[in-house]
């Protein structure tokens, strides 16, 4: 009797252990997903019973201006943000991958934007993106001191080149971006720029304050991109989104960098590889798996961008910030008019299919890349 009881206990153990998770998973994911799929073929409005309407919702969606706008915004946002954040995260990780004192504190500082909530960061950015805000002020400074900065950078490049060239003439192996020379060049260039400024050879331009509407505008940027231009408020959200996600992905890359065998670099050095060659031919291919992960997580995250749009709300025209995720929310809870749950569900299903497709495409691409390299 005891044996049978304990064997029954053993047999049911997996299900018992899984049951709390399955309770939520079945009700709040599986059932919800299937129900969304069903709603997308009906004219449900939260109050009356749903009627089957076939694929009408899907057809109507593509006729609706706001939806196509949202789809376009989402795709632009995803492509630009995922690309830039992956590149920045990799570069930042390479910079951070140093064994020097205090690196931990820098890591803490860098990771800060990633741990705070979207509402906090979006509010702070909305404050910075005001007409009379920090961003416009920094741009004003850049405008006023553009010449000074330009002279400084030109001097920096010139001095650096001369210093390195001198060393090269002596036959010493020096790279063009040798850090110790950069420091020397920065010091020299600053002194010369300061002297120029002091003698009045270069002056700050008397320019008006930069007055860019970052949020409350229908303008599109960049102006030369024609049909590929996106609304400027969306650009502001891109900046803020890249800023918040780069640190997370940097951590992933850092872990990956520490796993690259040193032997590879040593062998490359023996073969005479330069810094950027080592980066391009060793670091990048070795981090391929991490890159796949970073891009996948980035795609999933950016396609469901919602918080920033909701938080910015009426501060920007809806058309210039709306994304698919926000379109779904707004159709289901429109506030004043009747909820269009059918349309919302159809849009949600499109969002899900889009996410899966994009992830699959990127998987196929990275798989192909592997084949070519071998």
């Amino acid at each position: 009797m005891g044996n049978r009881w304990s064997s029954l206990k053993e047999k049911t153990a997996p299900y018992v252990l899984l049951s709390p998770f399955l309770f939520g998973f079945v009700i709040f994911f599986s059932y919800a997903f299937i129900r969304s799929l069903y709603f997308s073929f009906t004219d449900y409005d939260l109050f009356s019973l749903p009627n089957w309407v076939g694929i009408t919702n899907y057809i109507n969606l593509f006729k609706e201006h706001l939806f196509t706008r949202a789809l376009r915004n989402s795709l632009t946002f995803t492509i630009i943000v995922t690309t830039l954040q992956t590149i920045f995260a990799l570069l930042l990780a390479v910079v951070m991958n140093q064994k020097i004192r205090g690196i931990k504190y820098f890591r803490t500082a860098y990771y800060m934007p990633s741990v705070t909530s979207s509402i906090v960061i979006t509010l702070i950015f909305m404050w910075m993106f005001q007409r009379k805000g920090v961003i416009n002020y920094l741009l004003t400074l850049l405008h006023q001191y553009g010449l000074t900065i330009g002279v400084f950078l030109a001097l920096l490049a010139g001095i650096q080149f001369l210093l390195v060239f001198k060393e090269k003439l002596r036959g010493r192996p020096v790279e063009y971006l040798e850090p110790s020379y950069i420091i020397l060049s920065i010091i020299l260039a600053s002194i010369i720029t300061y002297v120029f400024k002091d003698f009045g050879i270069i002056k700050p331009i008397e320019a008006k304050a930069v007055d860019i509407f970052w949020l409350n505008t229908r303008e599109k940027v960049p102006f030369w991109a024609g049909p590929f231009a996106f609304p400027r408020p969306l650009g502001a959200i891109m900046i803020l989104n890249i800023w918040t996600t780069v640190p997370t992905f940097m951590i992933l890359y850092l872990a990956g960098l520490q796993g690259i065998p040193k032997v590879l670099y040593e062998a490359a050095e023996v073969d005479g590889a330069k810094g950027w060659q080592k980066f391009w031919y060793i670091t990048v291919p070795q981090l391929k798996d991490i890159t796949f992960l970073v891009v996948t997580l980035g795609l999933i995250g950016t396609l469901q961008m919602f918080d920033q749009v909701k938080i910015i709300g009426t501060q920007a025209p809806l058309e210039s910030t709306i994304t698919l995720a926000y379109y779904v929310y707004q159709s289901a809870f429109p506030g004043a008019s009747a909820p269009k749950v059918g349309m919302a569900s159809a849009a949600a299903i499109i969002l899900a299919v889009l996410t899966l497709t994009v992830v699959l495409i990127q998987k196929v691409f990275s798989g192909e890349g592997r084949g070519l390299r071998n």
Partner: protein, 461 residues
Amino acid sequence: MKIQQNYTSDINLKIKRRRWMNVGAIYLILLLFSVLFMGPFLFGALSSLKDNPSSWPPTLKTEQLSPKNWLGAYTLARQGGGCGFFGELKSGHEVSFQITYKYPMGIEIVPPQVIVPKRFKGTGRAALELDREFVADFVKIKPIEEINRVSNKDGVLISYKITIVNISQKDFNELPLDLLIPYKVDFLSATLSPNRIERLGRIQSWNNLVSGVIPYIFHNHFRVFNENYSRTTGKRLFMTWIYNSFFITIVKVITTLIFASMAGYALARLKFYGRNYLFILILFSMMIPGQVTFISNYLVLRDGIFGLTKLFGGGSLLNTFTGLIISGLVGASAVFIMKQFFEGLPKEMEESARIDGASTYQIFSKIMLPLAKPALGALTILTFQGVWNEFFWPLVIITSPMDKFTLTIGLLSFKETYASGAFDWGPILAGAIISALPIIILFIVFQRYFVEGVSFSGIKG
């Protein structure tokens, strides 16, 4: 020989110097990046102390951080009968105040006009919701005294002493003040710098002379706590939101830890029908945005989980913490992390325990859970962060009353509370900074787990 030696030491020195320079360059770059990543926070935090965070041009100079003003706020609060760090204007107390003006040549010397204004606190909805007595009706302004006069070639510098007495039997916690001077007279300095200077310098305005040092420095932060209260229960809203967020976060962290390790262990080590399908389904669910499932989940909660709550005498789960918690007991990604962790553990201990006759439950609780401490640490931090920062789902199911809000949703409501025409950015920034503090402190203390958690959930995937 000697020359040779000299040469090597010279080279050594050069290499050493270059190494140091390299380290310096790296630090410089790292520092630049920290400004980029920390800058918005730090500048936002600094500006949240200011009277007007949107002043142009933006500057680092903050009156609230000048020791001279701290001293001024301290003395004034002491005169009012407070302890100095926190202030009051007690019955019968007298507050005196010094201010210096410069009267340019040829301007008639007229002392400033002293007004104790009747002012509503806050802007927008916050102002409408406060009805109270005005301190102006209970104080007497003593005749203004001239205490010092210095003439020089561009004008006359005059210091005045202004004294205000509380002649009532009541204690107040504030004393606003406006000083009106003729056009072209320059305000130079005062015991406490004015909060605003208006009408081309004609009016210097103070919000509260007797605030005390701490409310003076953090005056926007105090506003966040004091100006938001519930219209139905009268409770202070911001404190309630903090409490709500902590409550929900802690409960969800606990349920996540327990249920994720249970499910993770089952998925990693136990054999049961449909294990692989379930795992694929979990991966699939991690890719599906919350916007796909929220309509159905909203309806499920509205109907009380298919009417089940009616059995326990409850109704709809919308606008309840139960609803918020029960719909997110454990996330698929938490289960995924635990599964990956358990799979990485060696099997020997488990097998020998099984030979000794231990049951699955015993193995799980006595052997596997203690081994899972590092993963549980990382999961705690990740879940805490995730729930604390959660925005979309609370936004959908908690719409009213305002004292059910979590911090994130509460902060969103600040956009209406503090908007009348333009935003009153002071309290909005202050609220944002306060609500980020717990997570930042947690992050600094448990940094290691954060980083581990991220690399863990990522790498092994």
